[in-house]
């Protein structure tokens, strides 16, 4: 008997399995092939806007993705560096061979974690409660909870041109039995589609015809307090090139051969990640599209052609690739394909990612309608944490929208659902200024520590770091500057204007051109690491904006404090509009705030609900 079984060893499954095992739960991970644990079937990178912050959050909660990306990166770049601190985001090019390899080793050596190579045929459900799973070889594994992290494998079909074969990503077997069973249990399934571009052989690419895009020249890490000094000069660059008129002519002439336009595809594709033929059809006035050439690994020859995902037949792909500057002679090593798979309606989940229909059955990752390694990993971690907390009969961990991008992601999924594959964007977060790349530790490390995923030693580093931040702020408040000629001279060298009155250095940082590190001009005894200066600078420089954002968030939090019993019978609530009643019955919001975010539930419905709740105070409250 296991405590928790995880079905699927992708990015969601890996985080879920590690979290439950590290929380001392006897865990079983069932996956088709251990060599595909945390594999990267699409782009060879981790992070980017919003997603990079998710990786930081996973790290602060004690997940593995951040450290795994740090240890296996071949390039690091901080995006939006010139913009404000809230939108900066780290992105790595990750070694496609090393990343899964390291994750596999971590998983195989993890205490409390057993790995079995198998395909799950069915779930063992009795009386709306999960009891384990049965694999295709007939074996039954019993457990208290099950987390489904099947990614794109459910009833998956790979499409190239007019060909459609029942197959999973990277030539793996699809998972066929679960979809019908889920439907029988009452889950609503939808069909989603995604795709991946062709890869070409490195030595056949003429990089001279492209623009080089190197990594950053300073050390960058996803993981907090990581001191691994990698070799900056050993980073692998990416390259930028463009489609041509010829590319567009080839695509337009062959549109009917693409799976997308030949009627083969049933699933809904992601709006943010369209195939190249989609881009041409929807934006036909654009003369060219950007194409990034990304190295997949230091050990393989594959170059990933970002921006060129397609479902054209092989011969058309060859012509398309050859029409791009730099790729005239390029040899395709892997052809592009589109893939279609089943996902559930995530509105059938609680914010803990446990299903409302079958108790102790959790869902995480692409099966919930998302896309992206980071989105999957974030959900996997939270599903694992909550499954473990539940078996211990502890309070769940639900991250609020003002606490983490992971909170925004899960709240969006379970409250609004999604039609096309869901990608996190900074635009989805209304409290962006609070959810920064720099402060994920402040937001979450305490929680990670409380549930046992952040070790004592790491937690001590966290408290030390924050003590230093506090000390430096105090030092800044004590550096008093007067409008003397000496100060004026220093300010001049810093491209700043002279003072009118006495100020502290703390106040001076509010000037856009003044960096915290400049304090050393006025106090040479300041001995703090650069990271501390950077973090303190953000806190001080944007204090006004941040306080405003915090006030706004606190206002919205009031509604989050009013809980709704999960077994509330909405038929008993008088005067609700019909649409609102139906939506509330499906989604079963846990707080008034969540109810307010459901589309189709109007403010008047929320008032009615709120009055009803107050008048039924004695009612039992089951808290997830």
């Amino acid at each position: 008997m296991y405590d928790i079984i995880i079905v699927g060893g992708g990015h969601a499954g890996s985080e879920a399995a590690l979290a439950t095992a590290r929380m001392n739960k006897n865990t079983l991970l069932i996956t088709g092939d251990i060599n595909y644990i945390a594999s990267m079937p699409c782009n060879p990178s981790i992070g980017g806007p919003a997603k990079g912050i998710v990786v930081r959050e996973i790290d602060a909660l004690g997940g593995e993705m951040g450290i795994n990306a740090d240890e296996t990166q071949i390039q690091m770049r901080l995006l939006n560096h010139s913009k404000g601190p809230a939108v900066r985001a780290l992105r790595s090019q990750s070694d496609k061979k090393l990343y899964p390899e390291r994750m596999k080793n971590i998983i195989l050596s993890q205490k409390n974690l057993t790995v079995v190579e198998a395909y799950v045929k069915s779930l063992v459900v009795d009386n709306n409660r999960i009891h384990g799973v049965q694999t295709q070889d007939g074996k039954i594994y019993a457990s208290k909870a099950v987390i489904l992290t099947t990614g794109t494998f459910l009833n998956s079909k790979v499409m190239i041109g007019s060909n459609k074969t029942s197959q999973g990503p990277e030539n793996q077997k699809p998972s066929l039995g679960l979809s019908p069973q889920l439907e029988r249990l009452g889950f609503t399934l939808s069909r989603l589609k995604t795709g991946t571009p062709p890869r070409v052989k490195r030595e056949t690419v003429d990089f001279g015809k492209t623009q080089i895009q190197p990594g950053d020249s300073v050390h960058r890490y996803f993981s907090y307090y990581n001191k691994n000094n990698y070799d900056i000069d050993a980073q692998h660059p990416c390259y930028l090139t463009y489609t041509t008129e010829e590319t567009h002519r080839i695509i337009n002439n062959n549109l009917d051969k693409s799976s997308m336009y030949s009627g083969v595809v049933e699933g809904v594709g992601p709006r943010y990640c369209p195939s190249i033929e989609d881009k041409l059809v929807r934006f036909n006035d654009k003369p060219r599209h950007q194409i990034f050439l990304e190295p997949e690994s230091q050990f393989t020859e594959d170059i990933y052609i970002q921006g060129f995902s397609t479902s054209m037949p092989h011969e058309v792909q060859e012509a398309m690739v050859a029409s791009i500057p730099g790729l005239e002679q390029a040899q395709i090593t892997k052809y592009a394909y589109a893939i279609e798979y089943d996902a559930i309606d995530a509105r059938m989940l609680w914010p803990t990612l446990e299903s409302k229909i079958v108790e102790s059955l959790y869902f995480a990752g692409q099966i919930n309608g998302t896309s992206g390694y980071e989105e999957a990993a974030g959900q996997g971690l939270l599903a694992g944490i909550n499954a473990a907390l539940k078996t211990d009969k502890k309070q769940p961990l639900i991250l609020h929208r003002d606490e983490a991008y992971i909170g925004v992601l899960i709240d969006d999924l379970v409250t609004k659902g999604t039609i096309d594959p869901y990608r996190l964007l900074t635009s989805r977060a209304e409290h962006r200024l609070l959810l920064r790349d720099d402060n994920a530790d402040t937001r979450l490390m305490e929680k990670g520590h409380a549930i046992g995923l952040i070790s004592k030693e790491r937690y001590r580093k966290y408290t030390d770091f924050h003590k230093q931040m506090h000390d430096l702020k105090m030092r800044f408040k004590n550096i008093e500057l007067s409008p003397t000629p000496k100060v004026t001279d220093v300010l001049k060298t810093l491209n700043s204007t002279s003072l009118k009155d006495r100020v502290t250095f703390y106040d001076l940082i509010r000037r856009p051109e003044i960096k915290a590190i400049y304090a050393k001009h006025f106090d040479s005894t300041l001995d703090f690491p650069n990271e501390i200066f950077e973090r303190v600078e953000i806190d001080i420089k944007y204090e006004g904006y941040i306080n405003k954002a915090r006030k706004h968030a606190e206002k919205l939090r009031q509604q989050e404090k009013i809980t709704i019993p999960e077994d509330l019978n909405y038929e008993d609530v008088p005067n609700l509009a019909n649409e609102a009643r139906e939506k509330l019955k499906l989604i079963k919001p846990l707080t008034l705030g969540q109810a307010n975010r459901i589309s189709g539930v109007n403010p008047s419905d929320v008032s009615i609900l709120s009055i009803y709740l107050k008048s039924n105070k004695n009612q039992n409250r089951v808290i997830r």
Binding site: R271, R282, Q290, F292, S309
Partner: protein, 449 residues
């Protein structure tokens, strides 16, 4: 959410000796601090009454009595004030608008009682009547909202929002797709002129909103002139019939508006008609200081001169005093010989007694307020206090954004206020969905890997 601060006029609209504006919530005293300078009401005892003036930008709006109720011993159990101001809808509405501009939200129907119930102040039987109100609200809310919102206003607000959304979506794409080179990278310098254009647009709307207010609330008008120049006959001529449209409320000397005349689409609210009817000699009766105050309060001055008499020193004095106001110089008795020997801008020659050129005067009044460009029937103006307050707030946020841009703040910081402005405008038309923004991103830009 339930503790945000709400305000409303609690007395019936229409003519009355006093009106009461009520406010409840967390920020009651901090809002009062900005409009009532006599004392800090957060420091006074609960259940006490305080006299003083309500101030807008240093100018007094009205003398009021304020009742203070402190949490939890108030009707809603929250901090509350009741502002007893002068009667008639105008003053109360002006005070309400001021409170809304300073952070209060217009209370929905039944909301004070709703709070009283939610906070345990009244019991369920009492609350049932509130349920009825809310039920009515949910069934009719949409219809009501649509009724209150003219299609033209919707278009106007929507066009402003669209312009804002263009900028916001551009910034969002810059953030979420930093390497995407097909869209302009907006910088503070590029943003500045675009924000300025929006500010101008909103200022134009607010100016028009004043016209909307004129149509809805009327124009405070005072008729001035020396004795016997024909002020009473002018009044009668404007009234056309002897029907008593001029309503006088005796014994309420604190009331300034004493009667209304409807000219075309505009309501003239006559101030101190007593001056015309009692002694026919305004200055003599009330003194120059009071006249000055009257002139200050008036939005339209009808200055009456006798065509048959030369200008007196008094006239010169009053003409100078009224120069900066919207003023029409009415030269009466044109059937008699011209002895004024001077011409004026914005003047009309009439004979009040013989009713000559009265229609010319009326058209003149109309054109002065409607600037000849608007048709009263179209009602393309914001006239609702909540709409105007929201528009002013949006204006304020754009100003903040402009300030951030001038300080070279990062674009995503500048965008915070742009977004708030966009959301505030959305409140006018009941739209504020985050998803709109994301749809915009993907419909406008060709994004993705």
């Amino acid at each position: 959410m339930k503790n945000d601060t709400i305000a409303a006029i609690s007395t019936a609209l229409g003519q009355s000796a006093i009106s009461i504006v009520r406010m409840s919530g967390n920020d009651v005293f901090s809002i009062m601090k900005t409009v009532f300078k006599v004392k800090d009401l957060s420091r006074v005892d609960s259940h006490t009454i305080h006299y003083g003036k309500i101030i807008e930008k240093g100018k007094s709006i009205d003398e009021v009595l304020i009742s203070v109720f402190k949490s939890p011993t108030s009707f809603t159990t929250e901090d509350m004030v009741e502002i007893n101001c002068h009667g008639g809808p105008f003053v109360a509405r002006k005070i309400l608008t001021l409170l809304l501009e300073n952070g209060a939200r217009l209370a929905e129907q039944g909301e004070f009682s709703e709070r009283a119930y939610l906070n345990g102040r009244i019991d369920l039987t009492q609350a049932e009547s509130i349920m009825d109100i809310i039920e009515a609200r949910s069934t009719h809310a949409l219809a009501l909202a649509n009724k209150g919102l003219d299609g033209k206003i919707y278009e106007l607000v929507q066009s402003l929002r669209n312009k804002l959304l263009d900028i916001i979506a551009n910034i969002e794409v810059n953030i979420d797709y930093p390497e995407y080179d097909d869209v302009e990278q907006l910088t503070d310098t590029l943003l500045k002129p675009r924000i300025e254009v929006l500010i101008d647009d909103i200022e134009a709307v607010l100016k028009k909103a004043d016209i909307g207010k004129v149509i809805k609330e009327g124009v405070k008008t005072v008729i001035i002139g020396r004795p016997n120049v024909g002020k009473s006959s002018l009044l009668n001529a404007l009234l056309r019939e002897d029907k008593a449209i001029v309503t006088e409320i005796r014994g309420t000397t604190r009331d300034i508006v004493e009667g209304e005349i409807n000219i075309g689409g505009i309501i003239l609210k006559l101030i101190d008609t007593a001056g015309i009817r009692d002694s026919d000699d305004l200055i003599e009766r009330i003194g120059i200081d009071k006249t000055r105050k009257l002139i200050e309060e008036a939005e339209l001055i009808l200055y009456v001169l006798d065509n048959n008499e030369p200008l007196s020193e008094e006239d010169e004095q009053l003409l100078t005093l009224t120069e900066h106001k919207k003023r029409i110089v009415i030269i009466n008795k044109i059937d008699l010989e011209n002895k004024i020997g001077r011409s004026f801008d914005n003047s009309v020659q009439i004979s009040a007694l013989k009713k000559t050129n009265i229609d010319t005067l009326e058209r003149k009044i109309e054109s002065l307020f409607l600037q000849g460009e608007v048709n009263v029937d179209e009602r393309t103006y914001l006239s609702n206090a909540r709409h105007i307050a929201a528009m002013r707030q949006a204006h304020q946020h754009l100003k903040e954004a402009l300030k951030s841009a001038s300080e070279h703040q990062p674009v995503d910081m500048i965008e915070i206020d742009l977004k708030t402005a966009w959301e505030t405008l959305g409140e006018i038309i009941g739209e504020s969905a985050q998803s709109t923004l994301i749809d915009e991103l993907f419909s406008k830009f060709c994004l993705g890997k």
